[in-house]
């Protein structure tokens, strides 16, 4: 039987953050960013020999239009014991997300027409600013970090993308765009900042693929 949790409960919010990350990976793009607005309801079930399952009702907001929200129901299964398996996530969105073809194509064409491969650092900067032309790059990083967060979350972690330390475009001969990111993930329970290198392929019609990711060591303090 599933036990009802208060929407303020730590475990419920950890699961909600995982779902948000997963959603960014599955539905995000340079033209679309999704963020958690609120957790409406949460239930937790202990499934013997399998793991812990969460049933969540959340509200997400469109980062580009804060007044635009979408309701989501999701199920998360954290597998018992194994630290090497990603949790299973299933979700249903109520209604349609805004179409982003135009924004995605504009970004795609802009990058394709650059003379030199794109390189950037510290997005956002220390004061939280993101130059407008970097916003799609930032949103693509959310997609990529959504993947990493999904693959590495446990019932006792809560990850968010803290900052893009560095991003560089990798030249390609086909029509895909490729970016190599060095992102900083913030894990709330341990409070650690974890650098992660992620390589992402993207095409407006073919979506996102994370082709490579590896956790980096924390740099030695001076």
């Amino acid at each position: 039987a599933a036990m009802e949790l208060q929407p303020s409960h730590g475990l419920a919010n950890q699961a909600a953050a995982l779902v948000t990350g997963y959603l960014c990976y599955r539905r995000g793009s340079p033209g679309r960013g999704l963020a958690l607005r609120s957790l409406r309801r949460a239930r937790r079930q202990d499934i013997a020999d399998v793991g812990h399952k969460y049933y969540l009702e959340l509200v997400l907001e469109d980062v580009l239009d804060k007044d635009s929200t979408v309701n989501c129901t999701a199920e998360v299964l954290y597998h018992l014991g194994s630290k090497n398996t990603a949790p299973d996530v299933q979700f249903t969105l109520e209604g349609e997300l805004k179409n982003t073809d135009e924004a995605d194509n504009i970004f795609y064409n802009r990058i394709r027409s650059l003379e030199k491969e794109l390189v950037a650092e510290n997005i956002p900067d220390s004061h939280g600013n993101v130059p407008p032309e970097m916003e799609p790059i930032h949103r693509l990083a959310w997609v990529a970090s959504g993947y990493v967060i999904w693959q590495n979350s446990t019932e006792n972690t809560k990850f968010h993308l803290a900052q893009i330390k560095h991003v560089k475009q990798v030249k390609r001969s086909d029509e895909y765009l490729e970016f190599e990111y060095m992102i900083l993930l913030h894990e709330m329970v341990s409070q650690e900042i974890i650098p992660w290198q992620v390589t992402v392929l993207w095409h407006p019609q073919h979506g996102v693929q994370v082709t490579q990711d590896s956790r980096q060591p924390k740099h030695t303090p001076e």
Binding site: P7, S8, A17, N122, H127, N129, Q163, P221
Partner: protein, 384 residues
């Protein structure tokens, strides 16, 4: 000057608008040329103030509907100009509370605040940091005969949480600007003294400006200078070292070599210990997450006055939500956040301060620690 938004419906309307723009020499913002005006597409025209009424009459006469997109162009220009000016570093005279400030400027601000509000504010020495910098707090106190109860608020215990010191500065400004005119605030000050510590972890804050934006701890050296920093909010003497900490210096939640091992912790603890019988409420401001947290972090056992603590916290969250709809979660640290020990909030409650809260300000993770400066105002306004 006003900017009108029109969506022409017919070719006739398009032609009329093209004619209007060229005869009155109106400033087309969108599209750029009259020949590009199309039916069904957005048209933005800036109309000089003396022509506004004439243009409105003309449009009405021709049954062309319009909306005023910008009612006062000059106002918008002025607003954006003042943002430009403030990108130069400014000092208290015209101090910009909607920007983040480095420690040097915060020190200057404190001195200035005391100087210009000397009947109400005094700056006091609290102690020194590990790198030998001074910690100051501000006392806001209306001189009367009676001894008043104290509300203590500290900000910036964790270096990367920049919105926190920004809030303390905002808070002080609001009180000082409005204590004469706002009856709630003046009543408040008649009965209570406010003690505000704008930056507790001075060394860490400076380090997050100069070297590593996402630094959290203080800067105390360990292991022969090969590892730095204790998490000051795990260093207090409240079930120190029992849970939710690391004993390893390289961890972000390293609790130090013992309770109150850090000079910053000792400076705060000694002061509060001395004044504890008069302190009604201990507040400590953090980010992010949007929480109002009650004791305890090291156990799920509720504190003795839990009902009252929760009632007040719920009221605060409701008031906060009333401003911009931002929702804060309310509850005990151990239940709604994670286990911790050695936190300042728990310690304050354990020594007898009845109301002890940790605020985790905006946001929910979208920007996290790197909250853009344009959110300083709404965050502070709602928290106020």
């Amino acid at each position: 000057d006003q900017v009108f938004h029109i969506v022409p419906e017919t070719l006739q309307q398009v032609q009329h608008l093209q004619h209007l723009c060229s005869t009155l020499l109106l400033d087309l913002w969108k599209p750029q040329l009259p020949e590009d005006i199309r039916a069904g597409e957005d048209l933005h025209i800036r109309v000089p103030a003396p022509l506004v009424q004439e243009v409105k009459d003309n449009l009405d006469h021709h049954m062309i509907s319009y909306k005023v997109l910008i009612p006062d162009v000059q106002e918008l220009v002025d607003q954006s100009m003042s943002k430009e000016r403030s990108s130069h570093r400014q000092v208290p005279e015209g101090y910009v509370y909607t920007q983040y400030h480095p420690m040097e400027e915060i020190y200057q601000w404190m001195a200035q605040i005391q100087q210009s509000n000397s009947e109400l504010v005094t700056q006091h020495y609290l102690g020194k940091t590990i790198e030998n910098r001074t910690m100051y707090y501000l006392q806001i106190s209306q001189p009367t005969n009676k001894t008043k109860k104290i509300i203590w608020m500290d900000c910036g215990i964790h270096a990367r949480e920049w919105i926190s010191p920004a809030f303390c500065q905002w808070f002080v400004k609001e009180i000082l600007q409005n204590y004469k005119s706002d009856p709630k605030i003046s009543r408040f000050l008649q009965n209570l003294d406010l003690y505000v510590l704008p930056v507790l972890n001075v060394d860490g804050y400076i380090y997050s400006w100069e070297k590593e934006r996402l630094w959290r701890k203080n800067r105390s050296p360990h292991m022969n200078g090969t590892c730095y920093g204790t998490d000051l909010n795990r260093n207090f003497n409240s079930s120190w070292g029992s849970t939710g900490v690391s004993y390893n210096c390289s961890s972000e939640t390293f609790c130090g070599s013992g309770p109150e091992s850090e000079p910053e912790t000792r400076a705060v603890a000694q002061f509060i210990e001395r004044k504890k019988s008069d302190i009604l409420c201990y507040l400590t401001i953090h980010s992010y997450g949007q929480y109002i947290l009650t004791p305890y972090g090291f156990t799920t056992e509720p504190p003795s006055n839990n009902e009252e603590l929760m009632l007040v916290a719920e009221k605060a969250a409701a008031a906060l939500r009333g401003k911009y709809g931002t929702s804060y979660k309310v509850g005990s640290t151990s239940l709604i956040l994670y286990s911790t020990s050695g936190s300042s909030q728990d310690w304050a409650h354990m020594i007898g301060i009845p109301f002890s809260y940790t605020f985790e300000l905006r946001d929910n993770g979208t920007h996290g620690f790197v909250l853009p400066a344009d959110q300083i105002q709404p965050t502070c306004e709602e928290t106020m």
